[in-house]
């Protein structure tokens, strides 16, 4: 991992994904082997960072779409990832745009019709770039205690004495 970013943003990133190494290990052990890609993008010039950032946001919201989640949460996750994995992300976005240009005649960011975007993303879901982005989002959204409440999940409970006297059995919409 690249350590040029400030330790603060690194820490924030770790905070938001729960556990830094987890992303890598989970990607390879739980999600599957990251196979070598036929990455043609290395010959393509790197897109500028503004374009990367905007495209990554679009991509993130297609991967785990939640109306209830403000853009800033997605943006933080993908921007931190783009800083950490500059080459992989830059080349990945270039590849995505190339694919999008070939199929739809415009860069990914400009594709307004959701099913078109999803079709392109499905075709690259085994690509290391996509897996990396998806894994970061999975941790950044669903293993992020700042967002648990949006899903009705309560996270850590031991410090509150568990649920023994705190709503263990309050299901009242179903009766014997």
């Amino acid at each position: 991992m690249n350590n040029k970013n400030s330790s603060i943003s690194r820490r924030k990133f770790l905070g938001s994904v729960g556990c830094g190494v987890a992303g890598t290990v989970v990607a390879t052990t739980m999600i599957g082997s990251v196979t070598a890609s036929e990455n043609k993008a290395s010959t393509i010039s790197m897109p500028d960072s503004g374009h990367i950032s905007q495209t990554m946001l679009k991509l993130a919201k297609d991967i785990y779409p939640h109306e209830m989640l403000e853009n800033k949460y997605y943006q933080k996750i993908v921007d931190n990832l783009a800083k950490q994995e500059k080459k992989l992300i830059g080349e990945g976005i270039a590849m995505l745009d190339q694919l999008s240009n070939e199929k739809l005649g415009q860069p990914f960011l400009n594709v307004g019709y959701e099913p078109d975007r999803i079709r392109i993303l499905r075709s690259i879901e085994d690509n290391p770039f996509f897996i990396k982005v998806r894994t970061a989002l999975m941790f950044g959204i669903y293993d992020n205690k700042d967002l648990f409440h949006l899903f009705g999940y309560q996270g850590s409970s031991w410090e509150k004495g568990g649920y023994k006297n705190r709503g263990l059995n309050e299901l009242d919409w179903l009766n014997d």
Binding site: I31, M68, Y153, Q154
Partner: protein
């Protein structure tokens, strides 16, 4: 916690126990209580209760055995969990840190699956060389030792009802299925120096207050307190050595500082779980035992069983809050019976299982396609979800097995294990039956959507050094003692002949108590 005793590497009068989980940890304490000295070599480190956070992925990273392993064969793990065939723990206490606490006994017929169902094509089913009656007294001892709720052995009441349980109880009533509170090795009242459960949840991330039984804070410290047991953490065993007569003489291991050591032994007990245990025997091949130690039958590493599993998560119109309370609060037991009229032999339990948001996001649709609206919309309903885990009997199949990779090595220079498994057709039919039953169950209480999840990396690993009456059919006899190497024992779930429709831990502990009694007798009469 400090070691009270240190034994010499040249002391050849010791029982060397490899692994400190439910099997190894129990054998160590049982031997110590009977005055038999032992050294426990544990590959993982020591944890304290303060290390246990209520955080799924953080604890997964902290506790799991993540040494290199490879999944192969026809199961979906080969693609979706390629480096994690099984989900077990590396630490002092082993997977008894991670287990949920479900303490079910095998049923009498589950020790006799061959005579019950006859030959099954494509499977290697055998009867156990012991019967239910042989093990019953040890089940009772195990229930007392571990503190299992709702048993005669403890007289402990069941844990209180949660919303998650209530939903399943009512659904079972409506559909005529059989509901049961789970017999749990979790204190419902303070008992045996451990507190009552606070319904924290996160049972599988290490019980923060020690209300759930784990060898980590029961058997192991008690063994140490006798002054007859030394536990060496961070000590990975590489090879079991033997003499010209074919008796085990000791073990080669790497200690916590990375130094190679040799510990002499009078008896060796292998309890490294069903992947590491056969791997160690295969890695201990020698001129005398070219196919691996204790492997004259060729069965070492074979008949690898998990359980026939999967998950079903239903979405309901209103909140369930499944995360509140113990991870596995209750069961549906109607399908545990052996009834071939259903289209498959053997049975399955349906175990109510809460997953947190983090794990559900990974397991709802595992693999590279697990993204998009289907996943995110499901997770938005987290609060309104309830779920079960299927625990069905997995048939032993010879070619479902642990082998050594020809070139890949781990950090100790040992060939890494390859875990090859393909579902038997019986597994597929059983799993589909369970999905259909769950649909019936959940629709009866108003489910609006169902998610069928494929198997998770298994924490239940069995069968790779199985017991047998005859030496040609298996690796160990009815005491878990090697047919080939008389002072070598298998003390974990790898000695299972079949997998049953229940969680393996209670049976592992019952067998360990029984085995330790046998070893102590042999040692004291100089028969070993």
């Amino acid at each position: 916690m400090t070691n009270t005793v240190k034994f010499d590497l040249d002391d050849d009068d010791l029982v060397v126990i490899i692994g400190s989980g439910a099997g190894g940890g129990t054998v160590a304490n049982e031997l110590a209580q009977k005055g038999v000295r032992s050294v426990v070599l544990e590959a993982g480190k020591r944890f304290t209760l303060e290390d246990f956070k209520n955080s799924e992925w953080e604890m997964f990273m902290k506790l799991s055995w993540l040494d290199k392993r490879i999944s192969a064969g026809g199961w979906h793990h080969a693609k979706n969990h390629s480096g994690l065939p099984a989900w077990i723990v590396k630490g002092v206490g082993g997977s008894s840190i991670h287990w949920a606490g479900v303490s079910l006994r095998f049923k009498p017929h589950e020790f006799k699956m061959k005579s019950t169902n006859g030959h099954i094509e494509g499977a290697n089913v055998a009867d156990w060389p012991i019967s239910y009656d042989d093990i019953a007294p040890y089940y009772e001892k195990a229930e007392d030792k571990m503190g299992v709720t709702g048993t005669k052995a403890t007289g402990m009441p069941d844990l209180p009802e949660s919303s998650h349980t209530k939903l399943h109880r009512i659904a079972a009533e409506r559909t005529g299925m059989t509901f049961a509170n789970a017999p749990m090795a979790i204190n419902s009242v303070a008992r045996d120096g451990r507190p009552a459960c606070q319904q924290i949840g996160f049972c599988m991330q290490g019980c923060r207050i020690g209300a759930k039984w784990s060898t980590m804070y029961t058997e192991l410290p008690r063994a140490e307190e006798t002054g007859l047991c030394e536990i060496r953490a961070n000590s990975m065993v590489q090879k079991i050595a033997h003499d010209a007569d074919g008796r085990a003489t000791g073990v080669h291991y790497t200690d916590e500082k990375g130094n190679k050591k040799f510990q002499k032994a009078r008896v060796v007990c292998v309890a490294g779980n069903s992947i590491e245990s056969p791997r160690l025997l295969l890695n201990s091949a020698s001129k005398k035992f070219p196919d691996g130690l204790a492997n004259s039958s060729g069965q070492v590493g074979r008949n690898y069983m998990g359980h026939v599993t999967g998950g079903v998560y239903g979405v309901f119109p209103k909140p369930v809050n499944m995360h509140r309370g113990t991870s596995v609060p209750s069961l549906i037991t109607s399908e545990q019976r052996n009834d071939p009229d259903r289209g498959f032999v053997a049975g399955y339990s349906l175990e109510v299982l809460a997953l947190g948001l983090g794990f559900l996001s990974a397991f709802l649709k595992p693999g590279s396609s697990g993204w998009g609206r289907e996943v995110s919309e499901a997770l938005e309903n987290y609060q309104n979800m309830a779920g079960v885990w299927i625990c069905g009997e997995d048939l032993p199949v010879e070619n479902n097995r642990i082998t050594l990779h020809p070139t890949e090595k781990d950090q100790h220079g040992l060939p890494v294990p390859v875990v090859t498994k393909t579902d038997h057709n019986n597994d597929l039919v059983m799993r589909n039956h369970a999905y259909a039953q769950m649909a019936k169950l959940y629709k009866s209480v108003g489910a609006t959507k169902l998610h069928n999840l494929p198997a998770y990396p298994s924490s239940h690993n069995m069968g790779t050094n199985r017991m047998s009456e005859k030496a040609s059919d298996g690796v160990v006899n009815k005491w878990g003692q090697s047919h080939d190497v008389p002072n070598l024992f298998i003390s974990d779930g790898s000695q299972f002949v079949t997998s049953g429709a229940v969680n393996p831990t209670l049976t592992i502990v019952a067998l360990a108590i029984r085995q330790a009694e046998h070893i102590a007798k042999l040692v004291k009469t100089n028969a070993l």
